[in-house]
Amino acid sequence: MKDKPEIYNQDVVHHYQNPHNKGKLSDPDFSVTEENPKCGDRVTLQIKLDGAEISEVKFHGHGCVLSIGAASILTQMIQGLNVREALELTFDDLVENMGNPAKMRKDCASLSLNALKKALSGW
């Protein structure tokens, strides 16, 4: 086996094991669920706006390190952004925070980002 096994970067695993903003909003403006058909993973993203600003965001669902880790990281990233800024986020921005495995497993890592885009496209 290789010497210093690091599968994902520490940060991602930490987010997976201690997800931020996990839970449900009682009265969200948007609630979108995305699923990865290859494994049944599913993430629901809920957003509350204050004017054009994302005032509250939560997610729930089940999935792998990358889908859950990404959701946790993403909710942190978008908190307080306005809608336009949030829509400008790209998958590469996520990869920057998550490393190469996310790039290799785009289907997993982009689940919550896709939910975000769908949610806000309805704005």
């Binding site: 096994p5 599968i7 994902y8 094991q17 996990k22 049944g40 993973d41 999935g63």
Partner: protein
């Protein structure tokens, strides 16, 4: 007994890359002799097949037909006309489904099993959806991944047109009782379509023993080149079946209104065939014959059993399909509690270059029956050694240590 060390030497990928390749149920690696055969075609022949037009084409045709004969021999058929080359196993099943669909006398029920690969489900579904003549029904599979034979018998009615069944499940590795199922089907004049994708690579198959009417498999899952599959069909059926796809070479005579089909197999092979791949697949068959298919079988069985035994000893691992000691194909599907199969695959890859598969393995209905979201799968072949299994087991334990701390979410 296979000498794995020697076998490994024949596979360039294993020399060039540091990999423990355990995704053989998806596609296998390619030995030197097959690569050499491909090279030989492109460097010394390069033409299409039409006997008699010029010397090069004649040489190509001879090599090409010799390969067809080898494949016929390999499945125990005494007529190369029973061997139709396809682009993959999936195309073979689509050909049968569309042919039966177009066959005027055909009408009634199609039975497939809940453990079939999408390739042996969807073509039949398309056929049944597109027509009032056909209805599709599923034979039940138990939670342990075994076919429910009583259910099969009860659903096998006199109006059953065809039965689709995998020789070996690509998820749970169950070896199905093909002989018994075929006899039962034939008693009711139903045709049997065996999906042999996971059987042919490492288990002796003789058509005179199993008597199925159609058999499909993938060349690329048995040391052959990509882009090639085989459809075996009983000659008599192939002669009578209407061909579903049109094109060059599959007709003898075309005028504005009438068409006279060519004989099988050409009748089912419109357009320019995958010539290089067919010739090279002859070399794959030679290679397997030299190893000896029963030696291959024994070797792959032993690896699968070793994996099952060692996985069974790990308390946080769930194994699907036949239990320890029971007959199974050369693969094992499982889950590690608290570690998502996709994470496990990534982990095994980055920890020790171990290549396994994760997901639904194109068998969503079976995952539904077993109430699983997805699973991980390791599958073995001639170039895998017992130590590969051990490295795989060690890496699972390591992955669990690193990733398995999280609770279920």
């Amino acid at each position: 007994m296979l000498n794995v060390k020697d076998v490994k030497k024949d596979f360039p990928v294993l020399k060039n890359r540091d990999v423990v390749y355990l995704d053989n149920a998806a596609t296998t690696l390619t030995p030197d002799s097959v690569i050499q055969s491909l090279k030989n075609y492109y460097q010394n022949l390069g033409t299409s097949v039409h006997r008699g037009i010029y010397q090069l084409a004649n040489e190509t045709t001879e090599k090409y037909e010799r390969a067809r004969k080898k494949v016929a021999d390999f499945v125990g058929s005494d007529s190369p006309r029973e061997i139709v080359f396809t682009k993959n196993c999936t195309e073979g099943i689509n050909i049968i489904a569309y042919s039966l669909h177009h066959w005027p006398e055909m009408e009634g029920k199609i039975l497939v099993t809940e453990m079939d690969h999408h390739s042996n489900i969807l073509p039949w579904r398309f056929m049944a959806n597109g027509s009032e003549k056909f209805q599709l029904e599923y034979v039940d599979v138990t939670k342990e991944g075994r076919l429910d034979l009583e259910d099969y018998k009860s659903k096998l009615s006199p109006d059953t047109v065809a039965v689709g069944v995998p020789g070996i499940s690509n998820v749970v590795g169950t070896v199905n009782p093909i002989k018994e199922m075929t006899d039962l089907a034939h008693e009711r004049d139903a045709l049997v379509v065996m999906d042999g994708a996971q059987w042919l690579p490492h288990r002796k198959f003789d058509i005179s023993e199993y008597k199925v009417d159609f058999l499909t498999f993938s060349a690329h899952k048995m040391l052959g080149p990509t882009g090639l599959g085989v459809l075996y069909g009983k000659e008599d059926l192939l002669c009578r079946m209407p061909p579903p796809f049109g094109g060059g070479e599959m007709v003898l005579k075309v005028d504005r209104r009438k068409v006279k089909w060519n004989d099988p197999p050409q009748k089912f092979e419109p357009g320019t065939p995958p010539i290089a791949q067919i010739i090279a697949f002859g070399a794959s068959v030679d290679y397997l014959n030299e190893l000896g298919i029963s030696e291959v079988n024994e070797h792959v069985d032993r690896l699968a059993q070793r994996a099952v035994n060692k996985l069974s000893e790990i308390p946080y691992v769930d194994i699907y399909g036949p239990k320890e000691g029971e007959s199974r194909g050369g693969l094992v599907s499982f889950n590690v509690e608290g570690v998502h199969p996709h994470d496990l695959a990534t982990a095994l890859d980055s920890l020790d270059n171990i290549a396994i598969r994760a997901g639904l393995h194109c068998a969503q209905p079976l995952h539904e029956v077993m109430e699983l979201n997805s699973s991980a799968r390791a599958s073995f072949y001639v170039y895998n050694a017992p130590e590969d299994v051990d490295r795989f087991i060690d890496a699972i334990k390591e992955a669990k240590k690193i990733l398995g701390g999280a609770d279920e979410r």
